[in-house]
């Protein structure tokens, strides 16, 4: 997911529009600096603005990106001279730099946006953290843009949530600004809008760089595309954080699970876990959200296979919260033929205070009589509830996911009701 400045531009909120304007002013100010003999300062600012690790959006595994080079920054600033429209009036949508400079894409646009409004994001993060009870720590933000001085301030002390592993500050971003790709997109322009007949000779490979060069000399074509995107702004929506897999994929995944052997032959256990996690997180969405696979405890000793956030949006989930204190729902995935006593004990250990006393064992077959008795005893003695979801139940969940007659979550409820009938009154 990336921050799309177009969502701020089209937002009905005055605050978002003002932030977009601030972003543009800051960016256009770089052009002003470059033209008034302060090119070095403009380049340094642009390089600083090209990466925003505190927000950490993008595909980097370590939330750390690389900044653009000074040459590339120079290339961006040159646009203020080489394209007369930008020279005269600056940019209206700075995403347009994608159309002229190689190597600038959605991640850079998002990073530039976040950096120019970082001051707002810091306030937003503090507000949200206080409202949601996220712990704040004293830390140092490497740089933020001061719109008054029109420059970056380095090593700014702040009280923000930090990454518990690295101690690095984290910034939150409003969900309404996020999209998988920017609305003004070079890829779309390249595919559908640029006049290929004019740019490429017949039989010539369609190279991106040739389009970039063409755009520099034909601003009208880019402008037409931008107008078209502005005209259809009503269709530009924020993307959801999580998308369910389609029904066809769900059916394919249940087939894969059914065809997997039990045990760890040919890494079947790992494949079972991967497939079941993908399937369950889609089937149980939106009632159970923010699925997290292989989540470690604070001490890092225990790894829970799958944890869901219980938003209590369904009466059954509200009941689990009320009766078992389940703020989160823990699931243990076991690709074994028979569940052993140790497997039940393992799940029992996870069912600590913060996770509540309700757990789900996702496995291949129903529990045998002795293990079922273990689970019932656990309920009798400690009021902890372990239910089992088998291949058959997953199959029924997929069927419900397809037919939409009932919610797949009702299968969990059914298993719970069945379990409670076995328990002593």
């Amino acid at each position: 997911m990336y921050v799309d400045p177009f969502l701020l531009w089209k937002s009905p909120s005055q605050q978002d529009k003002a932030l977009h304007l601030a972003m543009l002013n800051s960016f256009n100010h770089l052009g002003f600096l470059a033209k008034s003999g302060k090119a070095e300062e403009a380049i340094s600012q642009l390089v600083l603005a090209s990466e925003c690790d505190e927000v950490g959006l993008g595909v980097s595994a370590r939330r750390e990106g690389r900044r653009i080079g000074r040459e590339q920054a120079q290339e961006i600033l040159d646009l203020f001279r080489s394209v007369p429209e930008y020279d005269q009036r600056g940019f209206h949508h700075f995403e347009e730099i994608q159309f002229y400079v190689d190597g600038i894409s959605k991640d850079r646009i998002s990073d530039f946006s976040c950096n120019f409004i970082k001051s707002f994001l810091i306030d937003f993060t503090i507000d949200q953290s206080e409202a949601l009870g996220i712990p704040l720590s004293d830390c140092v933000v490497s740089s933020y843009y001061d719109p008054e001085r029109h420059s970056f301030i380095s090593d700014f002390p702040a009280r923000l949530p930090v990454n518990p592993d690295t101690g690095f500050p984290l910034l939150l971003v409003p969900k309404r600004w996020l999209r998988f790709g920017p609305w003004i997109s070079f890829e779309e322009y390249f595919k559908a809008y640029c006049p290929r007949d004019e740019i490429f000779n017949p039989g010539e490979p369609p190279e991106r760089v040739r389009v970039l060069n063409y755009n520099r000399n034909h601003y009208g074509v880019v402008e037409t595309y931008i107008r078209e995107k502005e005209r259809t702004a009503a269709d530009c929506h924020t993307d959801p954080l999580f998308t369910q897999i389609p029904v066809l994929s769900a059916k394919r995944k249940i087939k894969q699970i059914e065809n997997l052997p039990s045990g760890n032959v040919a890494a079947a256990d790992r494949r079972y876990e991967e497939t079941a996690v993908q399937l369950l997180s889609s089937l149980l969405y939106p009632h159970l959200d923010f699925a997290s696979a292989q989540s470690r405890t604070d001490s890092g000793v225990q790894i829970r296979d799958l944890i869901f956030y219980n938003n209590r949006s369904h009466p059954f989930l509200a009941e689990l919260f009320a009766e078992y204190g389940s703020k989160q729902l823990v699931m243990e995935l076991k690709n074994v033929r028979d569940i052993e006593r140790e497997h039940i004990n393992q799940l029992n250990r996870y069912m600590a205070d913060e996770l509540g006393r309700f757990g789900v064992l996702v496995t291949r077959h129903e529990l045998n009589r002795a293990r079922r008795q273990n689970a019932v005893d656990l309920w009798s003695g400690q009021r902890k509830c372990i239910i089992t979801v088998t291949d058959v139940d997953l199959g029924q969940m997929v069927e419900l996911f397809e037919s939409k007659q009932r919610s797949p979550l009702d299968v969990l409820k059914k298993k719970y009701v069945e379990f409670r009938r076995d328990c002593p009154a």
Partner: protein, 126 residues
């Protein structure tokens, strides 16, 4: 002994249950394990409850079944199965309450001697 009101009620219930059976049989052929949604289940249960009252303990097909529990996620084939059992029980109830009149027609055995035409018992039709 039946009354006219009871005969009307019986015929209404039989029609409703036949409708449910036909609808869900079609669904059960396609997806037998798919669950019946709550909207349909509510009306299926309403019809079954009335059937239970009408049939009484003597004719009810299963002593320990009264209606579907929505929490146990009854499937299309479950509902079809139960509906067909109840249809059989209703037919048994009807067969036991129809007689042949002097004119040879099959009629319900109604309290005040009124003749309400009925089909012959199903086993005799075969």
């Amino acid at each position: 002994m039946l009354t006219r009101k009871k005969v009307d009620h019986f015929e209404k219930l039989t029609g409703q249950l036949t409708g449910i059976h036909d609808e869900l049989s079609a669904l059960a052929k396609k997806t037998p394990n798919d669950a019946v949604n709550l909207f349909k289940l509510k009306f299926v249960n309403a019809v079954l409850t009335q059937c239970n009252e009408l049939l009484g303990s003597d004719y009810r097909p299963f002593g320990d079944f009264k209606e579907f529990d929505a929490d146990t996620l009854p499937s299309n084939s479950d509902v079809t199965f139960i509906a067909s059992q109840y249809l059989q029980a209703l037919e048994k109830f009807r067969s036991d309450n129809v007689i042949q009149s002097k004119t040879g027609w099959w009629v319900y055995a109604v309290k005040d001697g009124e003749e309400i035409r009925a089909a012959p018992p199903a086993k005799l039709e075969r």
